[in-house]
Structures are given as structure tokens and as C-alpha cells.
């Protein structure tokens, strides 16, 4: 075939592609608009109209992807985030996550063509009071988006409910079951910790990164689970990942340090080896712990936050929670919600926050 002829074939093929693609594009949201719809009220109080049956979901919130999977909606994911794909345990539980286009990058920006090309029925996103700048574009393309609260532990239950509502009835039933399970865990822990005197509550420092010392402060989900687990977040700063001085940490003098950043084990070692940390109470007592990490980081807005409250309670008050078996609870959780039976070594990899 001559070069010209092959060029002609190529152009014909391209035209063919366009003509095949065109009706599909045109048959998107606009054509289905008169079809059955339903409404969901999101975290910002917006009433969002969705197709009655949602089958294609774009999830812009890193941590929420594991929640969608947990509720049984994994196969509905058509766009995910780079960060979600980097969680080794999410990959183990749901290998397809690597083949879902990552329309959202690590910083929360979007590749609009990937997003629109994925033809989502709805976009799920975190909401802490402001919208990402691409929300206006989603509006322009008539892609509905549902905002979910990301600033507290109570908000996490609301997020589970909203995610279930968006995905469908079957998923909503799992979400309601999960919320009951979560509440039961919260009751189990607070039944013991609610009556603790201030003096019995250890001062907890939760670190958010190592290269530069940042910690997780007040008005956050992390502060919530520390309080519920019977501790006091000693970081008197507001929000997640705030930089603080070494001297300020010494002044707070935490009784317990929880290392919440990958690679957690190495970061814990760095703290233990640093002479500047030596005088701190937590190091004298050997109370420097690695925060577990599974389908997502347990300490963040992950499905496993329900386990985090148990783990934190047992870690802060081992003698008060003698009968609480974290290994048993964790294995049961993964079977119940991810339909995955953890081996002993897999369980250890989650608790030690290393790749399986």
C-alpha cells in the first residue's frame, strides 16, 4: 500500500470512529434527562438530581474509593484518583482499580477530557467548605456532583450514607449496616472512655509527615478519634498537617506518639533515633506507634476508621480494653465488608502499614 493510500485509509477510519462515537456522545446526559430521576441532598445542602439507576461513578476523593468498593459499588467506578491507585492494599482487594482511568491527580486537579470521556453519571467529592475550581466545568457538562463532609468523624458516617444513596439501594443497605457497625464500635469504646478523668487521658501527638515535622491538630477527624479513644490531642493547632517546632512538641510533651505517614516504620525509627526527641515522655515509655494502613490510611477518612477507633482505644488504654482483640476485629471487618479473608501475615502488614 502506498503512503497516500494508507493515509486515506487512516482518515476514513478516523471518520468512521467519529461517526460511531457521535451518537454515543449525543446520547449522554441530555437524551436521558426525561428518564426516571431521583434526588439526593448533599453535605452543602444542595439537592442533586441523579439518574434513577447510577451505574457510572467518578470518585474524586482519594479515601472514598475504598468506601465505594466496601459498599459493593467498585464495578461502578469509571474514574478514580492517582492517590487511590497508589494504595497497595486497595489494589490487593480490588485489582481493577489500576485499570480505572485516574482522572483526578494527587493535588485534586482533574483531567477534564478523561473525566468527560468516562461519562460518569455522578462525581463524588469531599467538601470542607469550598468547591474545587473544576466544579464549574462539571456544571457546564451537566455532570451532577455530590459533596460529602470531610472534617469530622461524624461526617464520615454521613459520607457512607451519601455514598450509599448515590450508588443505589443495595449499596445503601450495606452503608446502613456499616453505620450500625461503626456506631456499635463507638459505643463500645466510649462506654469505657467517657468516664475517664482528665488525668487518665494520655496526651497524644499524631504526626503527619517526617521530612518536615507536621502534626494533625484540632477540628479534624483525627482529633475526634483521639478523644473518643480516651486521649487528648496535645497539638494545639487547627487542621491537618500543620508544621510545628521541635521545641513546641517538647513543651506539649506527649505521652503517646502515633506516626501517621508512609513510610510509617522508617519515620518511627527516625523519631526514636533523633536525640532531640529523647526527653519526651512517649519515648521514655516506649509509646511510639505506627498507625495502621489498609485499603486507605486508617487514621484518615477511610472505611477503616471504624477499626481505627478500636485500635486507638486499645493502644491508648491496653488495660481497659483487655478483651478487645484487634486482630479478630480486623479480620472480621475485612471478611464482612471487603469479602477478603486476611492471613496472619497480611494482618500484620496492615497493622505495620507496609505493602502486603
Amino acid at each position: 500500500m502506498t503512503a497516500r493510500a494508507s493515509g486515506g485509509v487512516l482518515i476514513a477510519a478516523l471518520l468512521g470512529l467519529v461517526s460511531i462515537q457521535a451518537p454515543v456522545c449525543a446520547g449522554g446526559a441530555a437524551a436521558q434527562a426525561p428518564a426516571a430521576t431521583r434526588q439526593v441532598t448533599d453535605a452543602a445542602g444542595r439537592v442533586v438530581t441523579l439518574p434513577a439507576r447510577v451505574t457510572r461513578v467518578a470518585d474524586a476523593w482519594h479515601a472514598n474509593n475504598a468506601l465505594v468498593l466496601m459498599l459493593g459499588g467498585g464495578d461502578k467506578l469509571v474514574a478514580t484518583t492517582v492517590q487511590a491507585q497508589r494504595q497497595p492494599w486497595l489494589e490487593r482487594l480490588y485489582p481493577r482499580i489500576d485499570r480505572v482511568p485516574a482522572a483526578f491527580d494527587a493535588r485534586g486537579d482533574v483531567n477534564l477530557e478523561t473525566l468527560i470521556g468516562a461519562r460518569p453519571d455522578v462525581i463524588l467529592m469531599a467538601y470542607g467548605g469550598s468547591l474545587p475550581k473544576w466544579a464549574a466545568t462539571a456544571d457546564a457538562y451537566h455532570i451532577p456532583y455530590v459533596l460529602m463532609p470531610n472534617t469530622s468523624l461524624a461526617g464520615l458516617e454521613e459520607t457512607a450514607r451519601l455514598t450509599g444513596q448515590v450508588l443505589g439501594e443495595k449499596e445503601l443497605r450495606v452503608a446502613e449496616d456499616y453505620i450500625r457497625y461503626f456506631d456499635a464500635n463507638l459505643r463500645r469504646v466510649t462506654a469505657v472512655t467517657a468516664s475517664l478523668e482528665d488525668a487518665q487521658r494520655p496526651k497524644v501527638l499524631h504526626t503527619a509527615s517526617a521530612g518536615i515535622l507536621t502534626v494533625d491538630g484540632r477540628e479534624s477527624l483525627i482529633d475526634d478519634w483521639i478523644r473518643i479513644a480516651g486521649g487528648v490531642n496535645c497539638a494545639q493547632v487547627s487542621g491537618l498537617g500543620r508544621p510545628v517546632t521541635m521545641e513546641q512538641v517538647a513543651a506539649w510533651d506527649p505521652d503517646v506518639i502515633i506516626v501517621g505517614t508512609a513510610p510509617n516504620r522508617e519515620n518511627r525509627r527516625a523519631i526514636l533515633d533523633d536525640p532531640r526527641w529523647r526527653g519526651i515522655e512517649a519515648l521514655k515509655d516506649g509509646k511510639v506507634f505506627v498507625n495502621p494502613s489498609g485499603a486507605y490510611l486508617w487514621d484518615r477518612h477511610s472505611a477503616e476508621a471504624a477499626l481505627q477507633v478500636l485500635w486507638a482505644a486499645k493502644t491508648l488504654h491496653p488495660d481497659l480494653f483487655r478483651d478487645l482483640d484487634i486482630e479478630k476485629e480486623t479480620k472480621a471487618f475485612y471478611v464482612r465488608y471487603f469479602h477478603y479473608a486476611l492471613t496472619d501475615s497480611e494482618y500484620r502488614s496492615i497493622i505495620d502499614a507496609v505493602a502486603p
Binding site: 493535588r107 494545639q236 510545628v244 517546632t245 526527653g279
Partner: protein, 333 residues
């Protein structure tokens, strides 16, 4: 330089260093500070908790000393470069050292390297960046000032782009905030170990600049005049570049990007002691050291969190510079 003025310039940083040991978020009674310090030179009964000793000797003192060294080093580098390039807008990062060091540090943070590895990688990239600039600027065995400046722009732009790529790849929950805060500059990471690595290159570079300060006067008249006076300008320029690079790469490798110090302090010093580099270089070192230590004291005590150094140096530095510009009406010599 008048003797009285010289005494002030020597005393100011030392006095502030001493004062800095007394202030901080962790309350230590002033008398106890004195006793702890004395205990390290004489034998005293140990009446204070270990934590006080750690706060003073492992946290406050290394941090304050490092602030002095970096302030002095960056200011001397700025003064030397402004003379050598005969341009008041020049700062120590003109040859791309800051951008290259910052890229090295970001890579190290991305790879979760330890503290000393980060320092080494950042320092090495700083040196590499300037080496590239120098080679790029070399024409017929000379390095014209204009070629140096333009090559510096190219190299800095290249490493800034690479830095952007690293930030794009970084994990948003842990790595990206660390890189972002690191780039804003902070002396929070200073420990005795990191100091031991960072101090020698800074001392070496600063000593070089002090020894060359007379040659700077000659260079500042223009390269042709300097050559006519028998100064081997290529060698002098080369040594000055090596000295400033050692200082700046070392500074960036321990505390991130601290802008404005190397630009503003030389101007400020010129107002105090005049344009003669024999006085200007030591004066800039003293004023720069005092200035950065003061700013770092604010950064670590003003709030419960840590205020990034780069933010404060620019917020305080920019109005200072504006004032100086008005005051001198642009006649920078």
C-alpha cells in the same frame, strides 16, 4: 571601619544568640538556662530535668547558631555577587544553586530519605546546578558576566520545572505538604548532626569571601579595569562562585529556601558602612546573622505552629527593601 561601629557589629549577633536561648515555647527559667550552659563547661550539680538540657543544647542552641551562620553566609554571598556582577538586583541564587538544591531536596523527600541523605542530595544538586551554569557560560576560556546571568536563568528554570514534576508526583497526604513546607524554609529540622554537616562548607565559603574582599573592590570597577590592574579576574570570579555556592547550597540543604536575605542585607549594610567591600563583607555577615536569627526567633515563638521562614523574610524583607530604595533613591553604590 570605625572601631565603635565594629564593636557593635561583633556584639549584636552574639548578644542576640545569648538572648535567643531564653525565649521559646517551652518555659525554662532564665537562671536555669545559665546553670545548664555552665554545666557544659564546669561541673555543677544536675538539678534540672533532662528535657531542659535537650531543649537548650539539642534544639535551641543548634537552631540559633545555624540561623547566625546561614544569615551571615547568605548576606556575604549576596554582597560578593552584587559587587562581582556590578548589579544591585543580584542575590546568591542567581546562578541556579537554589533551584537545583531545592529540586534535590524534593527528590529526597519524595524518596523518604533520612535527614542527612536529604542534606547530601540537596547539597550535591546545588553544586551540580552551578557547575552546569558555569560550563554553559564559558566562552573562549572566559565567563562573561552576562553569559553567567543568562545561563543561571536557564539552569534555574530547568530545575524549577523538574521541581514542579516532583511535586506533581508527590503523595498529597504526606509528601506534598512536606515538600511545600520545606520549600517555604524552616530551621526546625536542625539538629547537632545536621549542623555538623552543614557548618564546614559555610565556614569555608565565608572565609573565602572575607579573604577576597579587597579583590571584590577591584572587580566592582569592571573586569577590564580589574585586569588592567593585574587582577586575574577569571580565577577570582571562579573562587567567589565556589564560595557562594558552598554557602548557599549548604544553607538550602538544611533550611530550604530563605529568600530576600542575600538581596536586602547587602543594601542595608552598604547604608551602614558604605560600598567598600573590605568593610561591607564583614558588616553584611554581622547584620545578616542578626537579622535571620531575629526572624527565626519570631518564626518559632510567635504561634504554637511554626511560621515558615521564607514567608517572614519576604514579608519583612520586601518593605525594608522598599524603604532602602526610597532612602537611597536608587544610588546603590
Amino acid at each position: 571601619m570605625r572601631a565603635g561601629r565594629a564593636a557593635y557589629l561583633i556584639a549584636a549577633p552574639l548578644a542576640l544568640l545569648y538572648a535567643s536561648l531564653f525565649i521559646g515555647r517551652f518555659a525554662v527559667p532564665p537562671l536555669e538556662v545559665g546553670r545548664v550552659l555552665l554545666a557544659h563547661v564546669a561541673s555543677l550539680p544536675h538539678t534540672w530535668p533532662d528535657s531542659v538540657d535537650i531543649i537548650l543544647m539539642q534544639i535551641r542552641l543548634p537552631r540559633a547558631v545555624m540561623a547566625l551562620m546561614i544569615g551571615a553566609g547568605l548576606s556575604a554571598s549576596g554582597a560578593a555577587f552584587q559587587g562581582m556582577f556590578r548589579n544591585p538586583l543580584v542575590s546568591p541564587d542567581i546562578l541556579g544553586v537554589t533551584a537545583a538544591s531545592a529540586f534535590g531536596a524534593a527528590v529526597a523527600l519524595l524518596l523518604s530519605s533520612g535527614e542527612l541523605e536529604l542534606q547530601a542530595i540537596s547539597f550535591a544538586f546545588g553544586i551540580l546546578g552551578v557547575a552546569l551554569t558555569y560550563l554553559l557560560a564559558r566562552v573562549y576560556r572566559t565567563t562573561p558576566v552576562l553569559m553567567l546571568v543568562l545561563s543561571g536563568v536557564v539552569v534555574a528554570a530547568f530545575f524549577s520545572a523538574l521541581l514542579g514534576a516532583v511535586k506533581y508526583l508527590a503523595d498529597p497526604e504526606s509528601k506534598l505538604p512536606a515538600i511545600t513546607y520545606w520549600l517555604l524554609g524552616s530551621l526546625n529540622g536542625i539538629s547537632t548532626r545536621s549542623m555538623a554537616v552543614a557548618v564546614p562548607p559555610i565556614l569555608l565559603g565565608a572565609a573565602g569571601l572575607v579573604l577576597l574582599r579587597y579583590r571584590l573592590n577591584v572587580l566592582a570597577m569592571g573586569e577590564e579595569d580589574a585586569r588592567a590592574l593585574g587582577v586575574r579576574t577569571e580565577i577570582v570570579k571562579g573562587v567567589i562562585i565556589v564560595c557562594t555556592t558552598l554557602i548557599t547550597a549548604s544553607a538550602v540543604s538544611v533550611c530550604g529556601i530563605v529568600g530576600w536575605v542575600g538581596l536586602v542585607i547587602p543594601h542595608w549594610s552598604r547604608m551602614v558602612v558604605g560600598p567598600d567591600h573590605r568593610a561591607l563583607v564583614p558588616a553584611a555577615m554581622s547584620i545578616g546573622a542578626t537579622y535571620l536569627l531575629f526572624i527565626d526567633d519570631v518564626a518559632r515563638t510567635a504561634t504554637a505552629g511554626e511560621i515558615p521562614l521564607g514567608i517572614l523574610t519576604a514579608i519583612i524583607g520586601a518593605p525594608c527593601f522598599a524603604y532602602l530604595l526610597r532612602r537611597t533613591r536608587g544610588s546603590w553604590r
